[in-house]
Symmetry: C2
Subunit: 226 residues, 2 copies
DNA sequence: TCATAAGTGGACGCCGCCGTCCGTTTGGAC
DNA sequence: GTCCAAACGGACGGCGGCGTCCACTTATGA
């Protein structure tokens, strides 16, 4: 927490400013987790015990705040890729990469939304980092295929597909980690070269209550959960 | 379109009112597809060529409008379940059910969001329809397992997991139907009892540009796509 | 043709969020 | 201890969406 904010903080920042910045990031994660990344900026400021002006001085846009708040998680993802590449068993590396990302999204509410929101980020910035990540992933995929563990028709973009769909699941069911684990297990099994089913984690307790399949079509406008 | 609105419309409605109601539903789908289900009500009204008052008279809450707008799709889902149950080959029924739902979400932008938003609907209403859907799905799953096509450890809630994650994917990449198809294919293969890989649809053209794995951690707050 | 009630639409007041401005406080250098 | 620039925070004007109210229009049936 402390070293995290100091990592982001300008070292030339005054002591109180640095402290406030740390508080803001903590508050932002809490508020975003609780109310989503569209929560009012003032709510974050209040939670952090600072004025709105202070918040806006550090983070001119909500987007900047979101990025900063989840920079740690993003970095963990990046590190997971590096570690995956370093693993002598490429499949194990691949598997851990995917599981790490999904676990992060499961734990840190609001991170999935930030992840998705940041996804089509076409700013030229970080271009080199992105390219490296893409290259690294391609290498990892090639190795895992060569090892006979990853199916031959797997495409690197499939990892993005898997992660994004997992994001959506977690966003829809923020407290159902069983569902998340279930999805991860299913996907990993379908990515394996030799198509053998392993054991699955226990299913979600999720009932189908409200599952829209149940619509009977006779509905009329009416007030509802609002 | 016409018969759809008449299905929903009170038959005692005056002719112009019925016409406007139809326009509203069409406009709502278009606007929700374009701007998401949180688009201003006034936008829907303008698009429909009616005043806001008319819109509010028919649909007191945004939620009511969303439900009505996508009632057709919901019903299609319900019908798909019935058809799946009627299919002599339970696996084919199951597969088609899942594919139909996903295709609907792919086609009708905004439907996934409506689907997810409606999901934890705990109003007592439609309870019987929901129960029936749940029961039907359970039967379908049991049959497909008995036929040796669906893996034995599949749980009915896994369909919800699959659908919700697909919702999330479509929401994140509204125009990438290749990604959606890929996910569906992966999931269906991992649901099969005999773990054999079939051919996959072509991968998404999605590059990893902006994939948050690429974060380099050196970032600072800054303006961005906003 | 006319009476009437159903239907319409836009103007309007309300509210919550945004982002800035400015008077006040405080850290830290000397 | 003194000073000042950095930092602070809250008040405030602006904006945009919400939902209602009411004077006007029109379908319908006698």
């Amino acid at each position: 927490m402390v070293e995290e904010s100091s990592r982001i903080a300008d070292p030339g920042l005054r002591a109180d400013a640095r402290r406030n910045l740390g508080r803001i990031l903590v508050a932002a994660r809490a508020v975003f987790a609780e109310h989503g990344i569209d929560a009012p900026m003032a709510t974050v400021a209040r939670r952090a015990g600072v004025g709105v002006a202070t918040l806006y001085r550090r983070f001119p846009t909500r987007d900047a705040l979101v990025r900063a708040a989840f920079a740690q998680q993003m970095e963990t993802c990046a590190r997971a890729l590096t570690e995956a590449l370093a693993d002598p068993d490429p499949w194990r590396g691949f598997q851990r990469l995917f599981e790490t990302i999904c676990e992060l999204q499961r734990q840190e509410q609001g991170f999935p939304a930030a992840f998705v929101a940041a996804f089509p980020d076409s700013t030229a910035e970080h271009a080199q980092a992105r390219e490296r990540a893409e290259r690294d992933l391609t290498i990892l995929v090639r190795r895992a295929k060569a090892a006979g563990a990853l199916r031959a028709d797997f495409h690197p973009s499939d990892l993005a597909v898997a992660v994004l769909s997992h994001c959506g699941l977690v966003a829809a069911l923020p407290h159902d980690s069983a569902a998340s684990r279930r999805l991860v297990a299913y996907l990993l099994q379908s990515f394996r070269a030799e198509a053998a089913h392993g054991a699955l984690p226990p299913p979600s307790a999720l009932s189908l209550r409200g599952f829209p399949i149940a619509a009977d079509g006779s509905q009329r406008q009416r007030p509802s959960r609002a």
